[in-house]
Symmetry: C2
Subunit: 263 residues, 2 copies
């Protein structure tokens, strides 16, 4: 499964400081360590604190690409910040993210076509995050239809059921799992599914346990990829073991090591 | 969820020796530790080595009940050994197990009615363990129909999708998970689902990781109970966290401790 490394995000204090101080080492170290740990894509988010988000995004993308050749997920709420990042990407990138809101969806589909990238679509829209599986799946279908109509291949479309913190809405996890199951039924071949995993454990004392348990449940329901922390060893072991149990690669006694070597 | 402690089984060397030597301490210690760790039922299996299985079962049941009042799952392939155990049970017991084979099913349903116990039904029959979800579910339906017709309440019927070792049949886990999903759709109210978890990791170097990952996936698919090792702390934490994420009890920061207190 595709793990998109979440750590280069200005919401983390070390990254925020590194952006402010143009400290390449911190960013490049995070990039290398995440790639070494099994992330096959790295999320890049300048965070809310950057004063000039466009130049911060450019600096991050250039800095990361000097250290690793891992593809990047360009993560921003602002299309102009996303485009600034995409212009510099050397490998096929992922746009993170659109929603079902028409103006945004149109703008980001255009960017995905222009830059030949993947597109992540959150199953929410201008009315917010729906509380029902049905409405989330309807928004997913809207994004999938519009994107494929514009010529984006299904395998480049990643639908996100939206993960909310268990601490603040316990019914949300069941809705999220059922949304994943139903998103996978929208088309054949099915769209990919993805989620921003760590949000589930916001405010929880044992975040890693909550994250990996959510991940394993979501994989059982059809999750294909996750924006998550590849430096969490137990998370990666749970992910690899789930893939093994679902027969995604051949069993050998040293499967944990073998899986990483094959990445 | 109901965890049935698996440790009092003559297949384990310490238990086999304890049966041979009539060593009550070892058995009672295992009973107490499993109950303390969160097992709400204890499986009792004399194992294949006992020379007189009926007297070994009687001795085990009496010995355990001198130490704890946890209900027992009387586990044997032989109806006469099961009946010898049931006769002595002070609390409502579980018969472990019948299959879909008619003669066995009839005999064990009679026992379940006579002793007012729960009934565990493996979704296999005289032809062996089916390789398809459909046939396992058909056998599950056969067991469910026969048991309810005989007056056993649905909530006392535990259907088992059959867990085989991932090392020897990787496609089996996907079949098992889908079987759980479909067994839950057989009736309303649904029958309970259960599995002998540890079998999945036979021959694997990191058994605990494989066991707990399988358990979390199965819970996501509707598993209600498992015969498992409650002394595996990480397994119990994964189980409790899964239940939390599925909104089975209210979140609090100390939910791991709170869950066990509420047992």
């Amino acid at each position: 499964m595709l793990i998109v490394g979440e750590r280069i995000n200005g919401m983390f204090q070390d990254v925020r400081k590194a952006i402010q101080n143009k400290d390449k080492n911190t960013i490049q170290d995070l990039a290398k360590r995440q790639a070494d740990a099994g992330a096959r894509m790295l999320d890049v988010n300048v965070g809310p604190a950057a004063s000039d988000q466009i130049s911060a995004m450019k600096w991050l993308v250039e800095t990361i690409q000097q250290a690793v050749d891992t593809p990047l997920s360009i993560d921003s709420a602002k299309p102009e910040v996303i485009e600034a990042g995409l212009k510099l990407c050397k490998k096929k990138a992922l746009i993170n993210s659109t929603t079902g809101e028409k103006a945004k969806l149109d703008a980001l589909i255009t960017l995905a076509c222009d830059y030949k990238t993947g597109l992540l679509g959150l199953t929410m829209d201008e009315k917010g995050i729906p509380n029902s599986v049905q409405t989330r799946v309807e928004i997913g279908l809207k994004i999938l239809s519009a994107a494929t109509e514009a010529g984006i291949p299904t395998e480049d479309i990643y639908l996100d059921p939206v993960v909310l913190p268990v601490k603040f809405g316990q019914d949300q996890i069941g809705i999220m799992l059922q949304t994943i199951r139903e998103l996978k039924l929208l088309s054949d071949p099915a769209p990919k599914t993805i989620c921003g995993l760590s949000n589930v454990s916001q405010g929880c004392p044992d975040r890693s346990l909550v994250n990996r348990t959510t991940l394993v449940m979501a994989i059982a329901c059809g999750l294909d990829s996750a924006i998550a922390d590849p430096l969490d060893k137990q998370l990666m072991e749970a992910m690899i073991t789930s893939e093994l149990l679902l027969n995604k690669f051949i069993y050998c006694d040293s499967y944990l090591t073998a899986y990483k070597k094959a990445l």
